[in-house]
């Protein structure tokens, strides 16, 4: 079993404090969902875990099986087992999707032990089928000219090919129609198992109709303010966030505000 421990995490972007002490522990075989209205710091948490260059951790720790994640470069974090499905993935002209994914897979292997082309193509084909992606997307340039939905599927495709220990999915459901939501959920559910843990960031409950989380956390004002089981997501769906705000005496849930 692997464990990702986030302790007292404080993060700034361009001098502005966004996260003000986040604590979450995720084990493999668990699926966690982080919910919350817009502007409460959810995506900042995702970016800070992966090491986005604009986000500065000012306090707190992230450890993966006791290893200091914050001391690692972005690529080292990835090779240590972390993955982030991004909300706005970059477009890279001239680099085909397939070449990129092979480079990513080979980055985890020793020189001379690269994944064979045949095996790679077979696996890519089958995963693309799961995600109902056109085969020609493998030869298109990375994210260039992809629709919003194609980009999301492509993020999940990468996750399925790379097979990380922990995946953070940053609003993977936004902009997806119901059919796309189903195939993306199928992809994520295929990953479930004792060697995989997942942190799903969303502000819609509907994704959780297809993926059942073990733990649900609510973020407000840059902190996790409430945690619970799957029933918490249902309650949020039914009643919204106001009852939590009332319970905690929060008037404005966004990060600019102090409790």
């Amino acid at each position: 079993m692997s464990t990702l421990v986030i302790k007292d995490l404080h993060v700034e972007i361009e001098g502005k404090q966004i996260l003000k002490g986040v604590n979450i522990t995720i084990n493999t075989s668990e699926i966690h969902a982080i919910m919350g209205p817009n502007g409460t710091g959810k995506s900042t948490l995702a970016s800070a875990i992966m090491g986005h260059p604009k986000y500065e951790v000012t306090q707190g720790t992230i450890e993966l099986d006791g290893e200091d994640v914050l001391a690692m470069e972005v690529d080292e974090r990835a090779r240590a087992g972390l993955f982030l499905a991004m909300q706005y993935p970059s477009e890279i002209s001239g680099v085909t999707n397939a070449d990129f994914m092979r480079s990513a897979m080979n980055a985890r292997r020793e020189e001379g032990n690269e994944v064979s082309l045949m095996k790679f193509i077979r696996e890519l084909d089958s995963k693309m089928e799961t995600l109902a992606m056109d085969q020609d997307m493998a030869q298109r340039y990375l994210n260039e000219g992809f629709s919003g939905g194609e980009k999301k599927r492509n993020e999940i495709l990468q996750m399925m090919m790379i097979k990380p220990t922990f995946a953070v999915l940053d609003e993977i459901d936004s902009g997806l129609d119901i059919d796309a939501l189903k195939v993306v959920s199928d992809g994520i559910n295929q990953m479930k198992g004792e060697n995989f843990g997942c942190l799903i960031i969303t502000h819609y409950q509907r994704l959780l109709n297809y993926i059942t989380p073990d733990h649900v956390h609510v973020m407000m004002q840059g902190r996790v303010v409430k945690s619970g089981g799957p029933e918490l997501a249902h309650k949020l769906e039914a009643e919204g966030y106001d009852w939590i705000k009332a319970e905690l005496g929060i008037e404005d849930e966004t990060v600019g505000q102090e409790a």
């Binding site: 690529d75 890279i92 002209s93 001239g94 680099v95 480079s103």
Partner: protein, 434 residues
């Protein structure tokens, strides 16, 4: 070999060189006149690069004698690797010496001419007289074109007769392996009405240094409804002063497409101009460049529209590292009367080190109302968010940069029609950006 530094060639030198190649009198006269004109003519003025102190005139010797290749097995390894095994239409020049030639028998029978330029001057005088430095590039334009005409010492001629489409590419390789050599080299390509051809040339130095001049001119003629695809990979050694002028003239419904990989290690001035003379003609120019060391370069790409409904596309991508500098001038010019013409261009420069310099300079000159035109230009570093994205998949920073750079230069690599040349350009890019 004797090394004698000549600052200039005299009229007598030019006459005797011409005589030694049994050139017709008109051609000798053309040389002599050009030589006389060269004295007084000014250097060209590439926008934003001062070349007044560049040395375009000194060279150790005018011509060197080099061996011919009896078979492709005799080629140096570096050269062998850029010739595909099934390459049927091939001209190889060894410094100034025509060294190997082959042309598909069927094509010969159908009237295709592929030969070295000297043979063309002797044996195809009419065609040469009609096209050589008459329309696309003129000897009296400036000092360098005049010197080119006067001192021409190599090159190749390709003629494709009417309505013939040549399926397999024609390849020309200009091998430079003698430090003393200078290349006053000319490629003349004539695609007659309704014909189609793909031509790929390599200028390749197999020695690290050069002491001479590379004064290169290519002229491409696409007659009515003809189509010419022109690929080039230039890898000339440091020490040359390189002037390379590639121009095309497209008549009605004709099409000229350029894919130029400009990978010289020498200081280089490049002029690539397409004249869209005929209605509905198309000119498409793609250029990629890598500059390194203390290289200074200037790349001027022009498409000049005369024909109605003509379409001109310019794409230029340059990568600059170390203290290299380069100017990328893109000129779309639409003449009066060229209604419905479309002139588009994109110039992008990627800077890999703080001392590198690059400037994208888009220019639209439009003398007609009913046209469309556009340009995009950018100069900058590798996007940190692209690197972040690639690295977040476990790819090292170095490899991520490599991917971005190769992707940036892919527009030319991907369209080169000869596998060996495509691979060569990829490897040269790899070597230069490392």
């Amino acid at each position: 070999m004797t090394v004698e530094t000549k600052l200039t060639m005299t009229e007598q030198d030019v006459r005797s060189f011409s005589a030694s190649h049994s050139e017709p009198e008109e051609f000798t006269n053309l040389r002599v006149q050009a030589l006389a004109a060269a004295e007084a003519l000014p250097l060209p003025k590439p926008d934003k690069t001062k070349i007044i102190n560049w040395n375009f005139t000194d060279f150790p010797v005018h011509t060197v004698q080099s061996s011919t290749y009896a078979s492709l097995d005799e080629l140096p390894e570096q050269v062998k690797s850029i010739v595909d095994t099934d390459q049927k239409n091939l001209y190889i020049q060894h410094n100034n010496t025509p060294a190997y030639i082959s042309l598909d028998k069927n094509l010969q029978q159908q009237g295709v001419i592929l030969t070295d330029i000297q043979t063309a001057i002797r044996e195809h005088g009419d065609l040469v007289a009609k096209y050589f430095m008459t329309e696309a590039v003129k000897a009296e334009e400036h000092k360098l074109t005049a010197l080119h005409a006067a001192l021409l010492n190599g090159g190749m001629f390709l003629y494709v007769p009417k309505n013939l489409a040549i399926k397999n590419p024609v390849q020309a390789i200009f091998v430079h392996d003698n430090e003393e050599a200078s290349l006053f080299n000319h490629a003349l390509i004539v695609a007659d009405k309704g014909s189609e051809v793909t031509y790929v040339e390599n200028y390749i130095s197999t020695v690290p240094k050069a002491k001479g001049q590379a004064n290169i001119v290519s002229e491409v003629f696409a007659e009515d409804n003809a189509s010419v695809t022109y690929g080039a990979v230039d890898v000339l050694a440091e020490g040359f002063t390189t002037y390379v002028n590639r121009r095309g003239v497209a008549q009605r419904d004709a099409r000229i497409e350029w894919a130029l990989g400009m990978m010289n290690d020498s200081d280089t001035i490049s002029d690539n101009t397409t004249f869209l003379i005929g209605d509905n003609s198309v000119g498409d120019t793609k250029t990629v460049v890598v500059g390194r060391g203390t290289q200074k370069q200037n790349f001027t790409t022009q498409v000049i529209h005369w024909g109605k409904n003509s379409d001109g596309q310019i794409l230029k991508h340059g990568v600059m590292k170390d203290s290299a500098s380069a100017i990328f001038n893109g000129i779309g010019k639409i003449e009066h009367g060229a209604t419905k013409a479309n002139a588009e261009q994109e110039s992008r420069v990627l800077m890999l080190s703080p001392k590198a310099r690059g400037d994208a300079n888009p220019i639209l000159l439009i003398d007609e109302d009913d046209v469309t035109a556009g340009h995009a230009a950018s100069v900058g570093r590798v996007d940190p968010l692209q690197l972040y994205y690639l690295m977040s998949r476990g790819i090292t920073k170095q490899e991520a940069e490599r991917l971005v750079i190769h992707g940036f230069l892919a527009p030319v690599v991907n369209v080169l029609p000869i596998e060996g040349v495509k691979k060569q350009l990829t490897e040269v890019i790899e070597r230069k950006v490392r």
